[in-house]
Assembly symmetry: C2
Homo-oligomer: 303 residues x 2
């Protein structure tokens, strides 16, 4: 039988890879530097292989094999972590820590309504929330830094299991005195010819809004206002109110009052495509998938 590394040794290895520094890695593992150092030496002895390149002075430099082992250690540790997670999930649904990632075009508008409902339904849930772009939180999800993410479909989040919950339609927003405000329903083709205000690149809502107007991703909006791409839906609404152009706002943002105090007129958009779908995504094979699914009604109620 081959001797296996201990989970603790793998944690040491991962922490060292992340911090590049024995002392800080030891802190992250809540052990002393000598313990971490000894653990890594023991791992090298166990594997009969060099993980660190000690010729490189006192800096932490991994050998090629060491880098490979870091990845394998991460995989193994995640598989190991899934075991107590499965046991916890079987004992009680949605208790204990849950690291949730949210995208910036959902978080500020939905969380204020979602959180109280969550606290009431699952009082023992300790929710850690991190807000970032879809790409980033997806990467963190797959890395094991997050357990669950709340995002808007369609999006590119390969490698994660996605679960659609509720539709969130877009509304066209323009000043009250804008010619388009005379229409009750705005046809997408009409929108495509306007000065269209968008979020900056990286926001999935930007692509979804373009798609809702029948434009391809990357296709420049006709207004040519790319340099003024907004960084949040709040600034987007303010820019539209200032007469810079027309924009699309998701209903949850409007419900949360993103247009409050402005002179913006809101009009539904014709056709079926002018919407995004709010949903969750999690790691495939996570033992807690069933728990996560049980969050859907709460999200649907909040959206």
């Amino acid at each position: 039988m081959i001797a296996l590394p201990s989970p603790q040794q793998l944690r040491f290895l991962l922490a060292l890879a992340e911090h590049g520094h024995f002392g800080r890695a030891a802190d992250a593992c809540a052990v002393t530097q000598s313990t971490l150092s000894a653990g890594l030496l023991a791992l090298e002895r166990l594997l009969d292989a060099r993980i660190l390149d000690r010729a490189a002075g006192k800096r932490v430099v991994f050998t090629p094999l060491g880098l490979d082992l870091v990845g394998r250690a991460r995989t193994a540790l995640m598989a190991l972590t899934a075991i107590p997670e499965a046991a916890n999930a079987a004992r009680a649904t949605l208790t204990g820590p849950l690291r949730l990632g949210v995208i910036p075009t959902i978080g500020p508008f939905l969380l204020p309504r979602l959180m109280p409902a969550l606290r009431e339904a699952f009082p023992d849930l300790r929710l850690f929330i991190r807000e970032d772009l879809t790409d980033r939180i997806t990467a963190q999800l797959l890395d094991g830094k997050l357990d669950l993410i709340l995002l808007a479909l369609p999006c590119t989040c390969a490698g994660a299991d996605t679960f659609a919950v509720t539709r969130d339609p877009f509304f066209a927003a323009m000043p009250q005195d804008h010619p388009l405000a005379l229409l009750d329903i705005i046809p997408p083709a009409t929108l495509a010819m306007q000065k269209l205000l968008l979020l900056e690149d990286g926001h999935c809502l930007r692509d979804q809004a373009l798609s809702a107007c029948g434009l391809a991703r990357g296709e420049s909006p006709p207004g040519g206002l790319d340099d003024f791409a907004a960084t949040s839906l709040h600034t987007l609404a303010q820019m539209a109110a200032g007469g810079l152009g027309v924009t699309l706002l998701p209903r949850i943002a409007i419900d949360a009052g993103v247009t409050a105090g402005t002179n913006l007129a809101l009009r539904p958009i014709g056709g079926e495509g002018a919407s995004r779908t709010l949903g969750f995504a999690w790691r495939p094979n996570t033992p807690r998938a069933a728990e996560y699914r049980s969050l859907a009604p709460l999200l649907a109620a909040a959206g």
Copy 2:
């Protein structure tokens, strides 16, 4: 930080699931029964969950959660084992134990030529060989009971990475006085109308032979001789020599003398499709994939 189970505890769990008996599982782990018992109790305490149903008397009965955890333990243990394997692979290529699975239509014909070459090229390789149908060895591969399998493509071995090495063409075999023996090359369509002798179900060669004649898998051969399906290529050759019909034999079997001492005529088959491809398959992400690939030249030389 969540407390993780120790690799030893996972080994105990797997051994118990496999043997269904504390004493035998303890033997398999090379520990005493009390150690294994205590280890499992510690695991249940760690996870705060019941793994075994102790209401079921002295028999070993797993709870539903327990069964789930067995699968997760297997996954985690395989990920853990990959770490020392990667270290070993980096140190020396193709040394130490290698558990090889072979299908019955390859093993008896190719191994006698392949093994000496292997021993010469990799003297420190300790090869354990297991012969069984494609389905079975594929399942054992994915279970971690085998490291590498030698099989014939195309086949259904989902979940494994396959690596084609060399073509192995089929020849039509019939008695010297059979009318078909007058042809130099046998067209596949002609074969499809003969009394076609096949291996019994489960052999991938059966399906490949049918496909070579333009018949679909499951489609009964015209002779209606299914009840006499052969269990090995040797009996298949003997049956053809006895005048029961026509059959297809792969070249490696002919080269190994499967038709020696018979009156069988061997004819190539027209077209390109009348062949199988010999190759390897391994678990995705195995650290030894590069080593396994280095076996290809030896296999090609032996085929």
